[in-house]
């Protein structure tokens, strides 16, 4: 059977739900090794941005954080005002290569201090109102206006709201080796799985089933065909799997991964733990960029790093910090013009109970990624006009 016929079967399957489980591999969109790719990395739990990118040139920082403030001589120096947390060796190397943009003061009006509420705002890009679909899902809806496989890949134990799309079913998996329905002496009579009634739950299950069958073989082949000498550190946040998919030529342009289990939700005895978490995250990101260089795909990929909120400026009495508001975001990759963007919020004029006043709407960074990198009209996705961050070489 040609790929063309399979393709037709697949589309037919979308309406008539033909049994496809035992068909050979289905080619998705032809491999295209030039389209731009966006990889979003979530540091869930509320990463303490002030102890990540440390304004050591500002005395107010040390006044607010007498015990957990990091001394200038321990930092990985960026310039005479900023240094990175000593765990962030990976991002420091990217900075030295000119591949890291730090966007200061990212947040939104009337911030929520709840992990789940604020994360939902970041996932939808719609604070306070919310949206049924995620911001990356809506980008996918703009990129392809009819249903397509492999539009969005979300590696994780559960699906993120960020990738929920009106038209496309995201490919969500954790371990590629296990992304397979095991058989037994592979019997090969297909069983048709038509629906007799159309409850929303049943339709949903059938849609996911179709997506799973269409994508699993491609993902497993990608993972098996991939080997890397690059050291991603010990918690690489699934980035090697993303590299494998890109290396295999999947047509996917949108990837979402996260540091698992709300790990950045630290309140107590934070410094050692936070440093360790940052070292894992930054090792993974640096390894990923190096791996992309190795496979010649670095020029296609933009990495966007975010967290649902930063931390309150003054430390608490348990050597930790509590939920806060504005935070740093990172853009990384060969296509990035390294440097500082946005404005560092004042550490002396705090708002809303010792918090930073945001200076950059986080959707400016989203708009930059979708419009400046992927070429999607950000206004259509976000419903508003946002000025772009001039951090992409393409734009400047």
């Amino acid at each position: 059977m040609s790929g063309h016929i399979n393709r037709r079967n697949l589309l037919k399957g979308a309406s008539a739900a033909a049994g496809l489980s035992w068909l050979p591999a289905i080619a998705a969109q032809p491999a295209d090794r030039t389209t731009p790719i966006l990889v979003a990395i979530e540091l869930s739990g509320g990463n303490d941005g002030l102890n990540s990118v440390v304004p050591h040139g500002d005395d107010a920082y040390y006044r607010h954080r007498p015990t957990i403030g990091i001394a200038a001589n321990e930092l990985l120096e960026l310039d005479d005002h900023y240094g990175l947390n000593p765990g962030m060796l990976g991002l420091h190397r990217l900075w030295q290569d000119g591949d890291l943009a730090i966007v200061h003061g990212c947040g939104y009006e009337r911030p929520s201090y709840s992990h789940f509420t604020s994360m939902a705002y970041w996932h939808t890009g719609v604070p306070h109102r919310g949206n049924e679909f995620g911001w990356m899902g809506r980008v996918a809806d703009q990129l392809a206006t009819s249903r397509r496989d492999d539009m969005l890949i979300n590696i994780g134990a559960t699906q993120s709201l960020a990738v929920k799309s009106r038209r496309h079913t995201p490919v969500v998996f954790d371990d590629p080796e296990r992304f397979q329905r095991h058989g037994w002496m592979a019997p090969q009579v297909s069983i048709e799985t038509a629906q007799v009634s159309n409850t929303p739950a049943r339709e949903f299950l059938h849609a996911v089933d179709r997506s799973a069958q269409a994508s699993s073989q491609r993902i497993r082949q990608a993972w098996r065909g991939y080997q890397t000498p690059v050291d991603y550190g010990i918690a690489p946040m699934d980035l090697p799997k993303v590299a494998a998919c890109i290396d295999a030529g999947l047509s996917t342009q949108l990837y979402h991964v996260s540091f698992r289990n709300n790990s950045f939700d630290t309140h107590v005895a934070q410094p050692a733990l936070h440093r360790r978490l940052l070292s894992y995250a930054c090792d993974g990101i640096y390894g990923f960029i190096r791996d992309l260089k190795r496979i010649g795909a670095d020029h296609r990929v933009l990495v966007l790093v975010y967290s649902e909120f930063g931390r309150r400026v003054p430390e608490n009495a348990n050597m930790g910090t509590d939920h806060g508001s504005a935070n740093v975001m990172f853009l990384a990759g060969t296509g990035v013009t390294g440097g500082h963007y946005g404005e560092q919020p004042s550490l002396t004029e705090l708002v809303d109970g010792d918090n930073l006043a945001f200076t950059t709407d986080f959707r400016q960074v989203y708009a930059t990624a979708m419009q400046g990198w992927l070429g999607v009209d950000a206004h259509r996705v976000l419903g508003d006009q946002y000025s772009l961050i001039p951090a992409l070489s393409k734009l400047t």
Binding site: V196, D231, A235, N262, D265
Partner: protein
């Protein structure tokens, strides 16, 4: 007390009158003449973990009222065993420091920690302390896996399944994770709160949880003191446990945190450090007073939104995740009018016409634990199999007991299903019907921490500790080496990788093994006993026993021809001697259908 309740009921009635276009939930009891075995199956799957054919027949003979009472009150449990402790704990382990660095710092300062003295000299004087630290981390985790097995067996065998189902609900609602609590005893104790109070009064349950050692540790309550209130506990009590976000201010969080100051743990007991408690006046949700934690909880209990939040969450869990927000007030008023009695609330819900309406039958996506236990229950098993491992499978499916992913618990509903999780569900069925002969017990062999096995191998080959504990697979030089790997093993007082390996060995000696029996399935006897004569009848038998929704005729045709082809005949009675394997293959295919996820 009764005044405000009446106001809520009136308020709800008024609201209902104003929004005449929206139909209320029909909570009137189901008339007895409509009761049937298929409705009994619906009740058994939602109020429990499903039922066998025999159990369903017995339920169908009762009135709906009696059937619901059987779930609310339960049957006597003749021989449900207590949890059998391995005996891994010793008093030196309490209090357990928050981290390895905290442990070694403590040991350096006072000369001992965790009941182990620092060696007076020699190489790596802190090593025995570090070994003990890793021993407890490992042993407590493995013992927690035994607690989960014990609980899963209760779910399977209990005569009071709603008690366990409700405990599972509260475990997701009041989510704590052993990874942070690091003490299986506290997890077991918390589970017992959910089991004994989960169908009782919500205020009693809430106070018991707020004073529960596992919860206090999990939400850092122990460090919440007068001089430095920690908001984590107060915030989650309001946001996740009672009212939901948006119904209180940041100031309320800070004031409530003050009321909870001093709440702490001593061993396995709740303890208030009066010196740390802030007994000055607080302003909380519009009220002033020298509130303590219980008084704050009582103010929360009086907020109408609390009843709505809890009632709606229970309804979404037990009935339908797509609850219209307009119906939340009705459910909240009901719960408040019943004085927050959870069992009485569920009695009304499970007896109602609404519960049995077609829109609520066969539309619930089973959670992984529901899927596993109900599959085993329908297969008639008396024991949760050791192969596959219950905890490994439930983790792969997204619901490892005692390890909810975040403080918000599991998201339930559609979040259980992704493309790969749908495959995992089917693989669970395969692994139960055709045990994997490559299975390695994860409580004996550290399959998820193979680095310690490599360390042990190198030590056995005679390498030095430093050489044996160097991270593997790091080929590149220091300029590109990951920071986390560069940092390993700097301290000469001890070696963490050695401690991790030795801790595993010590845990293995103490923690009792999990039995590794496979599922004793006999589909042949069942099929023959049901007097099936054709492939189609077998498919129909399995469908009626396992599925909450009808399968499409074309699917039934396909399954029947599959079995026919496997047997080489359509004569079931003539195939008895070789029937079992084809039947299991058929069942695997059936339980792999998307429809099997619906309960």
């Amino acid at each position: 007390m009764s005044n405000w309740r009446i106001r809520i009921v009136l308020g709800a009635a008024l609201l209902a009158a104003c929004t005449a276009t929206h139909a209320e939930l029909n909570l009137e009891p189901l008339p007895a003449e409509l009761w049937s075995q298929s409705l009994a199956a619906h009740l058994a799957s939602r109020a429990g973990f499903g039922a066998t054919e025999d159990e369903l027949r017995a339920l169908a003979r009762l009135s709906p009222r009696q059937a619901v009472q059987r779930f609310i009150r339960g049957l006597d449990d003749p021989d449900l065993p207590e949890f059998e402790h391995s005996g891994i704990f010793d008093p030196g382990l309490d209090p357990f420091p928050p981290s390895r660095p905290a442990t070694t710092t403590l040991a350096k300062r006072q000369g001992h920690a965790l009941g182990v003295n620092v060696k007076p000299g020699g190489n790596r004087p802190l090593q025995p302390v570090v070994n003990k630290f890793f021993y407890w981390l490992r042993a407590s985790r493995l013992e927690t896996d035994r607690v989960s097995y014990w609980w899963a067996n209760r779910m399977l065998r209990t005569g009071h399944p709603l008690q366990e189902k409700a405990a599972l609900f509260w475990h997701g609602h009041f989510a704590t994770n052993e990874d942070k609590v690091r003490d299986y005893r506290k997890m077991l104790q918390q589970l017992s709160v959910f089991q004994t109070k989960g169908l009782g009064n919500f205020r009693d349950l809430l106070i018991a949880v707020a004073q529960d050692p596992a919860m206090l540790v999990f939400l850092d309550a122990g460090v919440n003191t007068k001089d430095s209130p920690n908001e984590n506990f107060a915030r989650e009590i309001m946001e996740l446990f009672t009212m939901g976000v948006g119904n209180y201010s940041e100031n309320d969080v800070q004031e409530a945190a003050r009321a909870f100051t001093g709440w702490n743990v001593r061993g396995l007991e709740f303890h208030v450090n009066q010196d740390d408690h802030d007994d000055a006046s607080k302003s909380f949700l519009g009220q002033q007073g020298n509130f303590d934690g219980v008084q704050v909880i009582d103010i929360i209990m009086r907020q109408p939104v609390t009843a709505e939040f809890i009632a709606a969450k229970m309804y979404r869990y037990f009935v339908n995740e797509d609850l219209d927000a307009a119906d939340e007030a009705q459910l909240g008023a009901l719960l408040a009018s019943l004085d927050f009695d959870i069992g009485e609330f569920l009695t009304v819900v499970f007896s109602s016409q609404e519960f049995y309406a077609p829109a609520n039958v066969g539309t619930h996506i089973k959670s992984p634990v529901e899927l596993m236990v109900s599959t085993y229950r329908r297969l008639g098993l008396q024991k949760v199999p050791g192969v596959p491992d219950f905890n490994v499978v439930s983790e792969a499916l997204g619901q490892r007991l005692m390890h909810p992913p975040t403080v918000a618990g599991w998201s339930e509903g559609r979040s259980w299903i992704t493309p790969s999780l749908l495959f995992e569900r089917s693989n669970f069925v395969l692994d139960s019907l055709f045990p994997d002969i490559g299975f390695i017990p994860p409580d004996r062999y550290p399959s998820y921490g193979s680095e310690v096995v490599k360390v042990q191998e190198r030590l056995r080959q005679g390498m030095s500790v430093s050489a044996a504990t160097k991270p593997t697979g790091v080929a590149a030089g220091a300029d590109t080496m990951a920071a986390s790997n560069l940092l390993a093993d700097r301290d000469e007082d001890f070696n963490t990788r050695l401690g991790s390996m030795r801790g595993w060995q010590m845990a293995l000696e103490r923690v009792k093994p999990i039995g590794r029996h496979t599922a004793p399935v006999d589909l042949t006897a069942w099929t023959i006993g049901a007097e099936c004569t054709t492939s189609r009848q077998v498919v129909e038998l399995f469908a009626s026993q396992f599925f909450a929704v009808d399968l499409a005729p074309v699917t039934v045709d396909g399954l029947a021809s599959f079995l026919h082809a496997e047997l080489g005949t359509d004569d079931i009675q003539a195939s008895v001697s070789f029937l079992e394997t084809p039947l299991r293959k058929l069942l695997h295919r059936m339980l792999s259908l998307p429809e099997y996820q619906l309960g």
